[in-house]
């Protein structure tokens, strides 16, 4: 039996399943999975059709981190820690919005858990509603671009700083565009005792309005524009960044996605694009991304 699939019902080109398979393979299937309600859960855990080849639990939308903490405690109490690592797969909404309390508790208590945030930048399971990790200017059904509004006006929440602020030993971003890097980070996290937070950029074909073939391309462009810096913190110190050769203007990333298309004709579009370019420039400066 494989660790994940066959049999899941994800869209062709889904970023979630690419990330999930890579994480599970990096851990060689020696893990317990706690998954929040969301797209990954819905496409993989239907009764009698589970795609999971590892012990898996789905409880609620907002409690995957606490459930994982409970599994970790049980394994300790029952002297079964050698069975495997405890891993959370949670969406960006589950992580940055509704479940941030339980996540904060789990990180604060420093449970030996690898928390994977699958960041597709909106509530995608319910049809592309705005989350705290939705980027500026993105068109969602709860903040649609209209005559007045240019999509999301606030910023993407800085979950990385929030995670680092908890003083946990390992925090990283990753992307489905770079499997090897993603797997290396998961393997590294598995070696470290305590709470680990890894946020993986996982394009959503339907929510972002891209073709199933553009998943990796859009993920790569998010990195190449510096909108999604790929970085690593160990014990609170920035230890590694993935450098960008010939950083691209953010338009190249925005243009291929339906969720940003309005920015090129909306009266406030240029202003939003300027804001996004500034975010990218600031990222590049802060993390010294340019080679």
């Amino acid at each position: 039996m494989s660790f994940f699939g066959p049999g899941h019902g994800a869209c062709p080109g889904c970023g979630l399943t690419i990330a999930t398979r890579n994480v599970l393979e990096a851990l060689e299937g020696k893990c317990f999975v706690s998954n929040s309600t969301g797209c990954l859960e819905i496409v993989s855990s239907q009764y009698e059709r589970s795609a999971w080849g590892v012990p898996y639990i789905h409880s609620l939308f907002e409690n995957a981190a606490a459930v994982a903490a409970g599994i970790e405690l049980a394994l300790k109490a029952l002297k079964r820690t050698d069975e495997g690592k405890v891993v959370v797969f949670a969406g960006d909404g589950a992580t940055a919005d509704i479940g941030i309390g339980p996540l904060s508790g789990m990180l604060d208590r420093n449970h030996d858990v690898i928390y994977i945030c699958l960041d597709n930048e909106a509530y995608q399971n319910t049809g592309n509603q705005q989350s705290g990790l939705t980027p500026t200017g993105s068109n969602t059904t709860t903040m649609p671009a209209g005559e007045l509004m240019p999509g999301k006006t606030g910023r993407k929440k800085d979950m990385i700083s929030i995670a680092v602020g908890h003083g946990i030993p390992y925090v990283a971003t990753a992307t489905v565009a770079f499997y090897a890097d993603l797997r290396r980070k998961v393997k590294k996290a598995a070696e470290i005792e305590g709470a680990k937070y890894i946020q993986i950029h996982t394009p959503c074909v339907t929510g972002w309005g891209i073709d199933g073939k553009q998943t990796l391309e859009s993920a790569r462009l998010a990195f190449e524009t510096a909108l999604y810096p790929i970085i690593e913190y160990e014990n609170g110190e920035l230890t590694k960044v993935r450098k960008i050769k010939d950083r691209k203007p953010v338009e190249e990333y925005l243009r291929i996605q339906r969720r940003f298309r309005h920015l090129f004709k909306h009266p406030k579009g240029q202003e939003i694009i300027r804001i996004l370019q500034k975010i990218a420039d600031d990222n590049a400066a802060k993390f010294n991304l340019d080679v």
């Binding site: 039996m1 299937g29 020696k30 893990c31 317990f32 706690s34 859960e41 819905i42 855990s45 239907q46 009764y47 009698e48 589970s50 999971w52 080849g53 590892v54 012990p55 898996y56 639990i57 789905h58 409880s59 609620l60 907002e62 409690n63 606490a66 459930v67 994982a68 903490a69 409970g70 599994i71 970790e72 405690l73 049980a74 394994l75 300790k76 109490a77 029952l78 002297k79 079964r80 069975e83 495997g84 309390g101 339980p102 904060s104 508790g105 604060d108 208590r109």
Partner: protein, 391 residues
């Protein structure tokens, strides 16, 4: 060993003897002293291999126990009121997943207005969620119910969360003589938890799967079946308990003088002691009153309740909660259980938000109902005169 202890200690002591694997704690008055006592035991190394954890909320505490229970651990927490309501999404989920988490709920009123004092509005809110719920009258009963709760919850024929309700302050903070159990007795009654299925890499299973319409209903049927089986399994556990300890708690509903009583008074929780006292006194005066002490609220013991109430001309229920827009929740259940009988029916909500219920109030209500001075239906007990501002 008989000792005068407070209610919260009687629970903590009992929990320790049940050897839980994971305890998740979060403070809320008047439950806090239960987890504080467990914390002290943990800190002093008295809880063996148990993992004790302070959660970031009751929601987190309950969620931690979902993970722990699914991974095969024996789990415990205590809460009440706002904490129970905050846990509710998780506890109903645990019931659906058939996780035998044991919860002690120290019944407390709900906000608004904020009240830290006792009534049953909190646990009533979870009536339909698939948790076993019992109510106790004394701290000895509370103490004994903890091993019973684990035994029944973890019974493979049941596998459900079990909530022991004890009245906040009235029991939790009361000093009462309690015959404290010892380890040998609890060990002989409660074997280590052996989950029929659990999360393990040796046999990877999926918990909490998603059920489309073609199979959802069957899961809920099994939940109902487990609840109904629990009626028998609880009784069996009480009998085993009586053999070991000599204490039989009388089953789901305990009738006194119900055979020939014209008026049977129904009560649940710590108020029952005073109601019994008044009933006994009226009996001595030759008045045909009886008492039905309701112990199990879910699953609801229809058979026992019908049997105890079949000869009554009048039924009076003392309520500690209100189902706003209807009447008291116990009355609703009792009326439905006696379908087909046609007694006069009265219910009184007393002691809401910890309002003192003086003996004279109980005497008056029972006396007035007995003498036919009260209109049938739902009433509030003693309420001050006040002006309701409706704009």
């Amino acid at each position: 060993m008989k000792k005068v202890v407070r209610g919260f200690y009687s629970i903590a002591h009992s929990v320790k003897l049940c050897k839980p694997n994971v305890i998740a704690a979060y403070p809320i008055t008047p439950q806090t002293e239960i987890v504080e006592n467990l914390a002290k035991m943990y800190s002093n190394g008295e809880l063996g291999d148990c993992e004790y954890v302070t959660a970031e909320s009751e929601f987190g505490a309950a969620s931690i126990l979902v993970g722990a229970s699914a991974a095969g651990a024996r789990t415990f927490t205590a809460t009440c009121s706002q904490g129970l309501v905050l846990m509710s999404e998780v506890l109903l989920n645990a019931a659906g997943m058939r996780l035998p988490i044991v919860i002690v709920n120290t019944n407390r009123a709900l906000s608004a207005p904020l009240s830290i004092w006792n009534d049953h509005q909190d646990s009533m809110l979870l009536r339909d969620g698939g948790l076993i719920q019992i109510h106790v009258e004394t701290n000895q009963e509370a103490h004994d119910m903890v091993p019973l709760a684990f035994k029944v919850a973890e019974n493979p024929r049941v596998m459900l969360p079990f909530m022991v309700n004890m009245d906040g302050f009235k029991l939790t903070h009361a000093y009462e003589p309690v015959d404290l159990l010892d380890q040998e007795i609890v060990d002989s009654f409660l074997p280590p938890y052996e989950p029929p299925v659990y999360m393990t890499t040796k046999n990877p299973l999926t918990f909490g799967s998603y059920a489309p319409p073609h199979c959802y209903a069957e899961f809920r049927v099994t939940l109902q079946n487990a609840m109904m089986r629990a009626l028998d399994e609880i009784e069996k556990a009480y009998k085993d308990w009586a053999e070991i300890t000599g204490r039989y708690w009388g089953g789901h509903a305990v009738g006194e003088y119900t055979d020939d009583a014209e008026l049977v008074v129904v009560s649940m929780g710590s108020l029952t002691g005073m109601v019994r006292d008044v009933v006994n006194e009226m009996r001595r005066e030759g008045k045909k009153v009886g008492l039905l002490k309701l112990r199990t609220f879910r699953p609801f013991p229809v058979k026992e309740v019908r049997n105890a109430l079949k000869n009554a001309n009048k039924i009076l229920v003392f309520e500690r909660a209100v189902s706003f827009g209807y009447e008291g929740p116990v009355g609703i259940e009792v009326k439905s259980a006696i379908f087909g009988f046609t007694p006069e029916f009265y219910s009184f909500a007393v002691g809401l938000g910890g309002r003192d219920v003086p003996r004279e109030e109980i005497v008056k209500i029972i006396g007035d109902v007995y003498e036919g001075k009260v209109e049938q239906g739902f009433h509030f007990g003693t309420i001050k005169e006040f002006e309701e501002v409706v704009v």
